[in-house]
């Protein structure tokens, strides 16, 4: 057991989400994680030079304009002495040389873009990842590209998703056992969700499994052991839908994909079923809005947990996932932590998928608590959605109480959840499926949850199942959090602040005000000079970005699916351009 724990600690330490850094470190990294974005989703950096004691001295070290006005939602990547930044669609990939006094562009790569994909997505893209000597990234218009990090030369370039069908790639790929694993987005366009693995060396397709449809296509076979018995029936991906509805049923794999090397498993969530209007898709709508564990070599499903079955509010289940090793109620257990858009932190035993606890981290009225035996939330019938009717005051609001950016620090044992605290009025309307056009059938009006600020960063005690502290924000926190071994939590806010909190008690120690809102994921890395740096991409773009610009007319309460209203307090954008900020101690 001890060996296991040491190994786990090593993995954690080396991995690092956003941290990878010096060559010395990457040598101890297991080959499979090859210094690439590690698969545990913890957003934890083992670096400890920055501490609560010196955080207030942090200074801007460098700023690099990306030249894009889109939503900079990804994370930069540090690979060797290179810092790689992928700008929003239409993409440009910049490789910055960190050995210079100030980062300089070593090379840039601009893939050809299919403009029509811009209409299919609102909110940016994932970051690049590295594996071995290669650099991989997804483009919104559906391509996965492998580059030589030294020169920027293309190694392979495949069209993995078809924008004509409404499919896009908005998440970062994950590298697992020599495979590039990626999933599509496009639930709002009725694109059928899938996850696929391609060879890291050639880009050749290895396997592809869907989130709806017959068992064979979903990857459900003899090895599938769902924790709740209803899902043991055959072809639930068909029988839980009206006839043929699964063919354009959504369930995209646009959220994080985790890689547990020790178990050889991939974990991922699936997006919401399409359309939003639940009356047009009666049934449980398997396998959307739930969590999958899949075998890495075949993609076969091991278990599935429905998080939001028959997802009334189209929340999906693609928010943050974290692999956490810690004691659970008396003994060590491999846990999967999932703060979901429905406002609950799910704690699962990742070997079986059994839900160990689910506690709300924001005020919720759409459901009335979690039934552990059934493994499901108890819905409030007063908040049901019916086609043609308006349901008022549903909390939390779509797109969900949190995004993909939660962080976990093994030092404090706390989970750091960036939170949106909005409620909504939702009206479901019949809609018709036309490939490439929005397939939603819902109108939303958002407003801040009564009596609360619209956003917050919540420090959550996993074992106790409640918040320890929270840092209130006037606007929803759209970006990710980063926890560091030095005892800090970094996150950016929609109104343009980049903050450092004391990871233990949530006290704000330092902040920086940038020129644009931050929806990106911060990283921390050890520079070639041995100093610890913190980097984040700023740039709102997308929905929040347009709300402060000309593209949205605020007189329409349903503009941008109602989110424009939630962002009413957003100050006008002084400079909409994206920036890479790097901070360090002077």
């Amino acid at each position: 057991m001890a060996v296991m724990r040491i190994l786990a600690a090593l993995i954690t330490a080396a991995s690092v989400l956003w941290s990878v850094s010096q060559p010395a470190r990457s040598e101890v990294t297991p080959a499979e994680q090859g210094g690439a974005r590690p698969g545990d989703g913890n957003h934890f950096s083992p670096l400890d030079q920055l501490t609560p004691a010196n955080a207030s001295h942090l200074k801007l070290y460098a700023a690099f304009p990306t030249g894009s006005r889109g939503a900079h939602s990804g994370a930069p990547l540090v690979m060797g002495n290179m810092l790689v930044v992928l700008t929003p669609f239409p993409h440009v990939l910049y490789a910055l040389d960190l050995r210079k006094a100030k980062p300089e562009v070593a090379w840039r790569y601009e893939p050809a873009s299919r403009g029509m994909a811009a209409g299919l997505t609102c909110c940016g893209t994932g970051g690049p990842v590295s594996y071995g000597n290669h650099l991989y990234f997804n483009t919104v218009d559906g391509r996965t590209i492998a580059l030589d990090p030294a020169s920027g030369a293309v190694l392979w370039d495949v069209q993995a998703a078809d924008p004509a069908l409404g499919e896009t790639l908005t998440g970062a790929p994950v590298i697992a056992r020599g495979q590039v694993v990626l999933g599509n987005a496009g639930d709002d366009f009725g694109a059928r969700g899938w996850i696929t693995a391609r060879s890291a060396t050639t880009g050749a397709a290895l396997w592809k499994h869907y989130s709806t449809g017959p068992d064979a296509e979903v990857g459900i076979g003899p090895g599938f052991a769902p924790p709740y018995p209803t899902d043991r029936a055959v072809d639930r991906g068909i029988t839980t839908w009206p006839p043929s509805a699964w063919q354009h049923g959504g369930g995209g794999v646009s959220g994080p994909i985790l890689w547990d090397a020790s178990a050889g498993l991939l974990f991922h969530g699936t997006g919401h079923p399409a359309p939003w209007n639940p009356d047009q898709r009666n049934g449980d709508n398997r396998w959307t809005s739930g969590l999958f564990a899949r075998d890495v070599t075949t993609g076969e499903a091991r278990w599935f947990v429905p998080v939001n079955p028959h997802d009334l509010y189209a929340l999906g289940s693609t928010s943050a996932l974290l692999l956490v090793e810690r004691d659970w109620r008396g003994g060590p257990a491999p846990l999967l932590i999932h703060p979901d858009g429905n406002g609950h932190v799910y704690v699962l035993d990742r070997r079986t998928g059994k839900v160990l606890s689910a506690e709300p981290f924001i005020p919720v009225n759409a459901t009335k608590g979690f039934d552990l035996a059934a493994g499901a939330l108890v819905r409030d019938p007063a908040k049901a959605i019916r086609s043609g009717a308006t349901t008022r005051g549903i909390c939390p609001a779509r797109p969900g109480a949190t995004g993909a950016g939660a962080a976990y620090s093994p030092r404090t044992g706390l989970l750091y959840i960036p939170v949106r605290r909005a409620c909504m009025d939702m009206e479901a309307r019949d809609t018709t499926f036309m490939p490439g056009t929005a397939f939603t059938g819902g109108n939303l009006r958002l407003s801040p949850a009564p009596g609360l600020s619209a956003g917050a960063l919540v420090g959550w005690d996993i074992a106790a199942g409640h918040a320890v502290w929270e840092q209130a924000e006037p606007l929803p926190v759209e970006g990710g959090a980063l926890a560091t071994a030095g005892g800090l939590v970094f996150y950016g806010t929609t109104d343009g602040f980049f903050k450092a909190l004391d990871a233990g008690n949530g006290v704000e120690l330092w902040h920086f005000r940038g020129s644009s809102g931050i929806v990106g994921q911060p990283i921390s890395y050890l520079g070639p000079d041995g100093r610890q740096y913190v980097a984040v991409l700023a740039g709102l773009g997308g929905v929040p970005g347009s709300a402060s610009g000309r593209e949205i007319d605020m007189r329409d309460a349903t503009a941008a699916n109602g989110q424009a209203q939630a962002l009413r307090a957003l100050p006008p954008r002084a400079d909409g351009g994206g920036m890479l900020y790097i901070f360090a101690l002077p």
Binding site: G388, A389, T390, E427
Partner: protein, 637 residues
């Protein structure tokens, strides 16, 4: 009853007959010329205009009915496009209800009530003039819109959401709603005038139990109007607000309710039927004694039946909504109340039968119309009992059965007595008799044409023919009967045509009528035909319910009114004891200007809600002009 007053130069007590009539005529006359005609407040002139206008609308509505019958005569006929057909049936219904049936009854009252209660002019006569202009504009608005291909096409009931902002494109439904506003304003104005006239201006001695039954019926009708019309005004205003300002009264997605419209509309719409029907039965009760040569049987039960109908009228609007899915208890309640209305109707019919039984019937044209009324209305009343039953209504609602039913009630129950009334009072209004010979043809053609047209519709309805369809398919098997109905409607139309011809001809060339050609008993026959501008030289005093029969030689009169000023006698509500002389307003052009300003406001508000703000300015100016103090001396008690 002669009131002792200190002699004064210009009072009727002090003057000779010739001098008095001259003086009165000078005081009450309508100046000749264009502006004089526009400024008049004489209830008889306005009443005549009202009646004539209403009959013009009847004729126009009848033409639309024939158009519909033309279209429906054959299956899959393409004479009218669906768009035009929808406008046609909407305007037919709207026109007949709002521009003919209600106004014509009120028009008859405007003309007759002051004469029947023995006063010189209707109360608030300028409002009366104003109400006519509003009515005229409302009607013209509807018809001009129709001619311009922007006539309402949502049915006279204008159910939301079809008439709402989303499904009623353009200004068509707005025109309907504003037309409602015009006619409601005019109807409410007349109702107020009649209530005041009846309650406060009755001739001395005309206590409540001596009021002619037509006046009673108009009093009850006016109260129904005052209580029911606001509901439809609220409804149509809400509709306009929904359509033009974007309120959500009828939007279920924002907490509004589609059925709210139906409740509001029928809370008015059902009493509306009695607003049309009660004056008609009042006419019958007033005509019948003349042609049976005896006082009406059961005066008190008849009055109670009128009042009872008036009260019950507000308790059964839901029977228009039996298929909307109401709770069962509610359905049973409204079934019971809807059927209960048959009781007062029954009382009236039995009393009339008894009157005929004990009288000596004289089968002149007005009497023939009453017999035609009894023949058809009883059928309509009985089918009314059928549609009052929830289970039966679920089968016949919105079918031709209902079309047949309400035409039996409205044409049989109201138009026949009305035409009888026209034949009866025509000599009073014009001084000439209508032709008795043509009159008999008219009754015959109307009765036969009506029953042949509308009776088969009962069966068509039961065979599944729904209302408001612009055509039907040949394999439905409705073709034969529809053709029969369409041909019969020509007979009916011929009857109406003959009536109009007779009326036109008689107005010029009819035999001159004396003051009281029928030998009737009520006060309107106590003056000349047509009556002078001041109605009565001296205000008669009433000592019985049939004053002209009980004092055949000369009525006692009340005196003491001045002749150089427009003075009326104001009497107490119950016993009609004179209590004051009051001056009645003289001719004024301001009601016309006020109507013009209101018209601008209402019509412009179809296009922009700001019209309500800016339009208020001319309305205010017109009203200031209207009410500007004239320095006339205070009323004397």
């Amino acid at each position: 009853m002669t009131r002792g007053r200190p002699a004064e130069d210009l009072r009727d007590t002090a003057l000779a007959e010739v001098e008095l009539t001259h003086g009165l005529a000078r005081t009450w006359q309508t100046p000749s010329g264009f502006w004089g005609a526009l400024a008049t407040v004489d209830h008889k002139i306005i009443g005549r205009r009202y009646i004539a206008t209403a009959f013009v609308f009847l004729a126009l509505g009848g033409v639309l009915a024939l158009l519909m019958r033309w279209q429906l005569a054959r299956p899959e006929s393409r004479i009218l496009s669906p768009d035009l057909y929808n406008q046609v049936f909407t305007i037919h219904g709207t026109n007949m209800m709002f521009l003919f049936a209600v106004p014509v009854m009120e028009a008859m009252a405007v003309y007759l009530v002051p004469l029947m209660v023995g006063t010189r002019n209707i109360a608030v006569p300028r409002l009366n003039a104003f109400s006519y202009w509003m009515y005229l504009v409302g009607g013209v608005l509807l018809w001009v819109a129709f001619v311009l291909d922007m006539g309402p096409d949502v049915g006279w009931f204008a159910y939301v959401p079809l008439a709402g902002p989303q499904y009623g494109a353009g200004k068509r439904a707005d025109i309907w709603a504003q037309m409602i506003t015009f006619t409601e304003i005019s109807a409410l104005a007349v109702a107020v005038e009649i209530v005041v006239t009846v309650l406060k201006q009755r001739a001395p001695g005309m206590s409540l139990d001596r009021i002619p039954l037509f006046v009673w019926s108009m009093l009850v009708t006016s109260f129904i109007i005052i209580l029911a019309m606001p509901a439809v005004m609220v409804a149509s205003t809400s509709l306009i607000l929904d359509r033009l300002v974007g309120t959500h009264f009828f939007n279920p997605a924002e907490g509004g309710d589609v059925l709210l419209w139906q409740h509001l509309f029928w809370f008015f719409g059902h009493p509306e039927v009695y607003i049309i029907f009660l004056p008609a039965v009042g006419m019958i009760s007033s005509i019948l004694p003349t042609f049976t040569r005896r006082p009406i049987f059961g005066y008190l039960p008849l009055v109670l039946a009128l009042v009872g109908t008036g009260i019950l009228a507000f308790g059964l609007w839901v029977h228009h909504m039996f298929t909307t899915g109401l709770p069962r208890v509610g359905e049973s309640f409204f079934t019971a109340s809807s059927m209960a209305i048959a009781v007062p109707s029954g009382i009236q019919i039995f009393c009339w039968l008894a009157t005929i039984w004990y009288g000596r019937p004289v089968l002149k044209t007005p009497m023939l119309f009453i017999l035609a009324f009894l023949f058809t209305f009883v059928i309509g009343g009985l089918t009314g009992v059928m549609v009052a039953s929830v289970p039966l209504d679920t089968q016949v609602h919105d079918t031709y059965f209902v079309v047949a039913h309400f035409h039996y009630v409205l044409v049989g129950g109201a138009v026949f007595p009305l035409l009888g009334g026209v034949y009866y009072w025509f000599p009073k209004i014009t001084g000439r008799m209508m032709s008795e010979r043509i009159g008999r043809w008219v009754v015959g053609l109307l009765l036969a044409g009506f029953n042949l047209t509308f009776f088969p519709m009962h069966i068509l309805g039961l065979q599944g023919m729904t209302r408001r369809i612009y055509t039907y398919q040949a394999d439905m098997g409705w073709g034969g009967m529809n053709l029969f109905v369409s041909l019969s409607s020509l007979v009916l139309a011929t009857g109406f045509l003959l009536f109009f011809i007779d009326a036109f001809r008689s107005a010029r060339h009819g035999a001159p009528a004396g003051d009281n050609p029928w030998g009737a008993a009520t006060l309107e026959w106590a003056t000349s035909s047509p009556p002078p501008p001041y109605n009565f030289v001296r205000i008669p005093v009433v000592e019985s319910a049939s004053p002209l029969w009980d004092s055949p030689d000369a009525l006692p009169v009340a005196t003491g009114l001045r002749m150089d000023r427009r003075e009326l006698l104001v009497s107490t509500v119950a016993d009609a004891v004179p209590e004051a002389r009051e001056s009645s307003p003289g001719n004024s052009i301001w009601p016309l200007w006020a109507a013009a300003a209101t018209t601008i406001l209402l019509i412009a508000s179809i296009f922009t809600p700001w019209a309500v703000v800016w339009g208020a300015i001319p309305v205010t100016i017109a009203l200031i002009g209207w009410f500007w103090p004239k320095g006339t001396p205070e009323d004397e008690s």
